[in-house]
Amino acid sequence: MNFAAKFVSVGFQTLLYKETLRFWKVATQTVAAPILTAMLYLLVFGHVLEGRLEVHPGVSYTAFLIPGLVMMSVLQNAFANSSSSLIQSKITGNLVFILLPPLSHWEIISAYVLASVVRGVVVGLGVFVVTVWFADLSFVAPLWIAVFALLGAAILGTMGVIAGIWAEKFDQLAAFQNFLIMPATFLSGVFYSIKSLPPFWQAVSHVNPFFYMIDGFRHGFFGQSDISPWTSLAIVSVFFAVLATVAVNLLKRGYNLRH
């Protein structure tokens, strides 16, 4: 038995493959559409604000915006993948095909989260490829880019698992997405630096974990950020650990899954 086969079970591999194949089969909706949406954001905001703002010295607004849009797409699509898959399976009843086999809660959550990371990264790369032509981007610390992209996608994938387990109808999931994920993403500094905000809203932004993901990700491009990437990494890692613990616990208990 080779290393991979010993530590990565066939059940986990199959569920990861299924979750990846699921979004790939409807790539127009799950990949192309969010790339187009990000492109439209860039065209509108870039056109309106280019030349009026200089967020970091020597960095144009469009160049500042691109990493923010890439990361926003990574986060939103990672969340959408696991949450929509789970809620659809619960409502149509086919979740039983995952619950009947001998899959452990670790295998289930790992597969759902990794598939979310794959979708988040694929969409993020797509957004990057279509927007990179609009500004001169630098890549000061590529490792930070990769670390925050992967960690951010994993966090939102885990949040999607939690939301998918918790929600019993599409309406509840939409509420989770529209009243929590969307505001947290938009108010995290995708379109602006929080230094431009009044002190009160700067303080509010600092309790938003999404801010640290995007700020750290952007640091990888420009070597400049609102706070140290190490601080962001520590906060984001703790946030991930807390969410993963909650998600694993829900799955282990069979909350809303095994009655």
Binding site: G11, Q13, T14, Y17, K25, T92, V96, P102
Partner: protein, 314 residues
Amino acid sequence: MTAAIQITNVEKSYKSLKALGGVSLTIEEGEFFGLLGPNGAGKTTLISTIAGLIRPDSGAVAIHGHDVVTDFRQARKKLGVVPQELVFDPFFTVRETLRLQSGYFGLKNNDKWIDEVMDNLDLTGKADVNMRALSGGMKRRVLVAQALVHKPPVIVLDEPTAGVDVELRQGLWKFISRLNREGHTVVLTTHYLEEAQAMCQRVAMLRAGKVVALDTMSALIRRIAGSQLIVHLASGALPPSLRHLVAHDEQDAHDAHDARRQDSHRYSLRVNDYAEVEQILAKLREAGAVIGEMQLKQADLEDIFLQIMDGGAL
């Protein structure tokens, strides 16, 4: 020998509703076992508990000695369940669905068996068709195939023939019977009692979450009170000495002298053995009655089922 399924005093309640009230059953390896009962009797709750989809409030279930909660990996490997609901994943074809299900059970490169299962369930022609494009009967076949894809020693079928055509039923039972002959344990719930009578060696009947009958099929049928002699009198009347043998519901109708009943000379008489038939015929002849038609109907599972569900004792 370890039991295929050992259910020990399982209780499950949903708020004030007691779905299972202390069910205990032992299903031996190689049995073809029927789990019968009216809607709401607790059959699906019990099956879901066996499958690990429902966690009991108390009691335990083991598959081949493996507890379905504490040793769920081994228990689930040995179990294949065909759910009652017609569920499917609309993203995949039939072959993809079966390969994925096979993978969840840790099996790679399982195409030889997948092809055999599809062939036996007449699914080969639909292998590359998306699940959404299948008819209800075809989707049901895929559900059966999914349950068998890892060759489980214990197969649980929760109303597998509900709403499917005769051809599928015959094909399905032929395949399941073959698996049973090869040593697989089969547990079946169905509302088609003739199917249960034809297939099952042993039967448990559930009523309000409790086992109210548990025996071999032949013993159950032997235990019910006799058969029925159905006679249609061309002329004459039923003598008073035979009135007590008429089934109660018919007796009421006859006593009401309902002239509109076209079959007012048709009687169902309870008989315990063949010797009684001759005595009844003799009494009819003595009374001058002429028999137009006559039929001896053996008790079947439906009679037993109705008697038990009406609260009767065997």
